[in-house]
Amino acid sequence: MSIVEFLAGILYLSAATLFVIGLHMMRAPSTARQGNLISAGGMTIAVLTTIVFAVIDSGGDWIGWAALIVGAALGATYGIVRARTVKMTAIPQLVSIFNAVGGGAAAAVAFADFVAHLSVTSLDLTMSIPIALDVAIGSITFSGSLIAAGKLQGIISGKPLTFPGARVINVIAAVIALGAGVLLLLVPPNLPLLLVVLVASLIFGVLMVLPIGGADAPVIVSLLNAFTGLAVAMAGFAIDNQALIIAGALVGAAGTILTLQMAKAMNRSVGAIILGGFGTGDAKTTSGAAS
């Protein structure tokens, strides 16, 4: 371990500490805002450390950096403008959109890492497993969160949407994603296979959220938020980056607990919401009664 790696590790550790302290302070309304600022401080440390370390470690070429800077500037502008101007009542759907883009970013990171290793004859399992999982989970949260945002916004009907064969298509999409994912681990790096995982997971995400009632949508957004956390952690495994693993796992676990608490506060069980969503008819009756 070089001195630079050691320093980067220490800085990542302090960023992770600030994330945990920030989340902890968010448990009480009086300290919540300060907690969010502390978490943002941790984020600043993590990002600056990564930039310095990436420049020293591999350098990269100017086109890659230009693509990153232009992309990040556009994304940051969109995020800040929307966050500042959105109506208070429309915040839940905006959070869902931010969750969607997070999942998409995680999938893109794993995809890029895979593309960078296309020339090797066989990819180590410690890399191919997290890449496959990341692309699958990230794509599900991307399309699923967009549908949930549409439901909260009212663009897509808040009623549970089902059509004949929806459940069958969903199962087929899951099986195809799983099959392509497993095959991906057995053969040399194969781009079309990863694309199959990507597309099948996108379809699965759409069909998973469409049948869920608008009243249950916030719980599903929270669940997809936890999914994104796990996708980010998988991206961390793929590119061997501790900041992503720690923050991703933290959000994955915290998001899961939060989902359970939200469902409990609504007197619903997460299982009933999801299974209802898969067409048992439970979500239809319950959310129909709620609305």
């Binding site: 232009v70 994304g75 931010f98 893109a108 990171v109 960078a116 693993i245 998001g255």
Partner: protein
Amino acid sequence: MIETLFGNLAIFVLSLLVGVEVISKIPSTLHTPMMSAANAIHGVVIAGAIVIASVANSPAGYVLTFTAGALAAANVFGGYVVTDRMLRMFTRPQPTAPTDVTQKDAS
């Protein structure tokens, strides 16, 4: 290779446990801000976008870097700003509430 994996797995599992502990029993008014705060934290994926920018060396790599950078930046910047906006509603009444109580007590 295997030592790196084991170290990362240990970090992963311990972070999961911390995540469970840190969020147990929060008031239901904070559910949405907490979800938004967690959403902002997974914006750390922008660090992943930076890493892939430093290794990108093909047109596909550049396009994916651009995509990851744009999506992750929207997540992290938007996430923190919108969470702060939500939480401002919680902190503002805080200073006025105690003064009201003392005024009542005084009268």
